[in-house]
């Protein structure tokens, strides 16, 4: 594979997601990172493995998004002490992923600036690494709460506001530390990891169907994206092709998930800006939409609809007609609501120039997904690296460059309409029913990767199977990339605007706490 002027030998991986794999050494790890950065590639995920039981040592893996393919580089590490070169200097988003990897596996990034614990708050001691294969899953330690060393800002009139982990509304737990002067935010530091519940360890040894259910619950609001990415990884590992119709039905579920979340978010954005009307209207649309999901997929959120090898059900022709009509109706309603909100001077005043992430900052920090597209990062897997059926239905990339709350709302509006059109096109081209073929048996050690553009951004699942059971799964949420950018988006804004700005990103806590 040629990355700019950097040439590297890679092996093409099977599966729907175009992916290449290579093995690098210590120096190659860094050279590759620089080549990817220079070629405008982006960091997707970093994870670690413990292969000592397979006669190897530890290893780190990195996945880069490049225009041609996903590139996975593997760096084998010596058993003790397992160290590897820091990537955060090249890709700032690597920082928390590396810290999490240290907490879970004890792999240490050499030269990293920040060595504070990230996922470990004291539920297990610093010298115990739960994700090592030698550590039993049910190891129980007494929780010894640790004080997180926040960076403090000093100066006359500066004071701190700690918020969380339990927040005022019905949202997920996390801690935010604001340093403010008057009402202006000088610094925000996030501390997450409160929801860490050992998901990656839990995957070890599970049968494929159980692992699929777990994968679908990494972040409930993106259950279809995770379910599909996991299924894609299994199918890649087993070199199995799903029936066309199953791919189409998966895409219908994914686009419906996107619409459902965007509808919900637009309501909350309006509400947080003081317009309860928006919440009532959008939550009404969302509820109708979820009720149809129940009829279509047997579940309001379409949880467990995507299964490795296919989908869990099919649609009646009547349902298909209803879905078309509904898509048309919702488009009319959403466009009408958009015109109302666009004309609302008071609302626009709150949304514009609020929580700005400039395109330059977005690129530098690696902002991704929906929030990235609102800040000029014109990237969408469905458009640039489409898997079936997206290669056949021509999705359009939606984007903006203002990078403020208004832009993130505008991209949501555009994407709802685009998804509704995609739903029509998917129904127009829906392949006929076919007998599904069972997944083949898996012998030996297999690797597979799945990659899906969820509503929030790129969801990746890297999977290793051992004699048919799960050996290791690393699920990656785009929130890893975007949480640190939120710390910048709030700078210079006033504290009361934080809920609004936070909502406009709507990042997952569960998806990164794992």
């Amino acid at each position: 594979m040629q990355i700019g002027s950097f040439d590297i030998a890679t092996e093409t991986l099977p599966g729907a997601a175009k992916a290449e794999r290579c093995v690098v050494d210590f120096l190659g790890w860094l050279e590759l990172a620089q080549a990817v950065a220079a070629a405008d590639g982006h960091l997707v995920a970093i994870w670690g493995v413990d292969d000592r039981d397979r006669g190897r040592g530890f290893g780190v893996r990195v996945a880069y998004g490049l225009p041609e393919a996903l590139l996975i580089a593997e760096l084998p590490l010596a058993s003790e002490p397992p160290v590897y070169p820091d990537l955060a200097a090249t890709f700032p988003a690597a920082d928390r992923m590396q810290r999490a990897m240290f907490d879970l596996l004890g792999l240490q990034p050499l030269g990293a600036e920040d060595d504070r614990a990230w996922l470990r708050h004291g539920a297990w001691p610093r010298d115990v690494y739960p994700l090592r294969r030698t550590t039993p899953v049910d190891t129980d330690h007494v929780m010894v709460p640790e004080v997180y060393p926040f960076v403090s800002v000093t100066g006359e009139g500066v004071h701190e506001i700690p918020v969380g982990p339990v927040h005022a509304g019905t949202i997920e737990p996390g801690h935010f530390r604001f340093s403010i002067i008057g009402e202006r935010v000088l610094r925000l530091e996030e501390h997450l990891g409160y929801k860490h519940k050992g998901i990656e360890k839990r995957f070890e040894g599970l049968a494929i169907p159980d692992a699929a259910r777990l994968a679908a619950r990494v972040s409930g609001d993106s259950t279809v994206a995770y379910g599909w990415a996991f299924a894609m990884a299994v199918e890649a590992a087993l070199d199995h092709r799903v029936r066309e119709r199953a791919a189409w039905l998966r895409a219908l579920a994914l686009e419906r998930e996107r619409v459902a979340n965007h509808l919900g978010d637009l309501g909350f954005i309006g509400n947080d800006a003081g317009l309860g009307f928006a919440l009532a209207q959008f939550s009404r649309l969302r509820e109708n939409w979820l009720r149809s999901n129940a009829a279509l997929f047997g579940h309001r959120l379409a949880m467990d609809f995507v299964v490795p090898g296919g989908v869990a059900g099919d649609m009646e022709d009547q349902v298909e007609r209803d879905m078309r009509l509904q898509a048309r109706d919702v488009e009319v309603e959403v466009l009408h609501l958009r015109s109302l909100l666009d004309d609302h001077a008071g609302l626009q005043d709150r949304l514009r120039r609020c929580g700005v992430v400039t395109p330059e900052l977005a690129r530098r920090l690696g902002l991704t997904g929906l929030a990235g597209r609102a800040s000029g990062v014109a990237r969408d897997l469905r458009v640039q690296s489409p898997t079936a059926p997206y290669d056949r239905i021509g999705p359009r990339l939606c984007g903006a460059t203002d990078g403020d709350v208004a832009a993130r709302a505008a991209v949501r509006f555009d994407e709802i309409v685009e998804s509704l059109h995609l739903i029509q096109r998917l129904l127009d081209t829906l392949p006929p029913r076919e007998e599904s073929t069972p997944l083949p048996d898996a012998k030996g050690h297999r690797f597979g990767v799945g990659r899906v553009e969820g509503w929030r951004g790129e969801v990746l699942v890297a999977l290793e199977l051992d004699e048919g059971a799960v050996r290791r799964v690393h699920p990656h949420d785009p929130s890893w990339q975007n949480w640190p950018v939120l710390e910048h988006a709030i700078l210079g804004n006033i504290v009361p605007d934080f809920p609004l700005i936070n909502k406009s990103f709507n990042l997952s806590y569960a998806g990164v706490d794992l």
Partner: protein, 170 residues
Amino acid sequence: MIRILRQVARAGLVTEAPPDPDEALRGVREQLEKEVLRSFAGALAIRHVDAGSCNGCELEIHACSNPYYNLEGLGIRFVASPRHADLLLVTGPVSKHMEEALRRTYDATPDPKLVVAIGDCGCTGGVFGENYASRGRVSNVIPVDVAVPGCPPTPHAIMQGILTAITRAP
């Protein structure tokens, strides 16, 4: 403003949803309202605590406030502080990192207090179970009055769970 009012009128009142499949829901709404009036002088305050969910349960708790279910219309409010709460709605398996926060929230809630555990995770630990980082079901950490199964439970089931809890109240 006029256009907004027109849209409000056009969307109309959806709270009285069509008979099928909402007949059951109507029953729950009416009973809920009666119980809120009877036992809580018309105002039931709920504090939600996410103790480690996948966030799916939160989506359905949110849905309880949409115009179809209109929980607030029954005198049930979500409050920001446990000190103002009659009832805790707890989601997720309890992660070890949230255990203390959950206990503190429980302790800060004035007696008599009710706890409703939401979702398969709250009931049993769900797909996550117990491990080095998870304490599993909510009742492993604080006393639970009613546990609502489902993954996630529907808004209807959540409302039913709340109703079941308050009809048990003294």
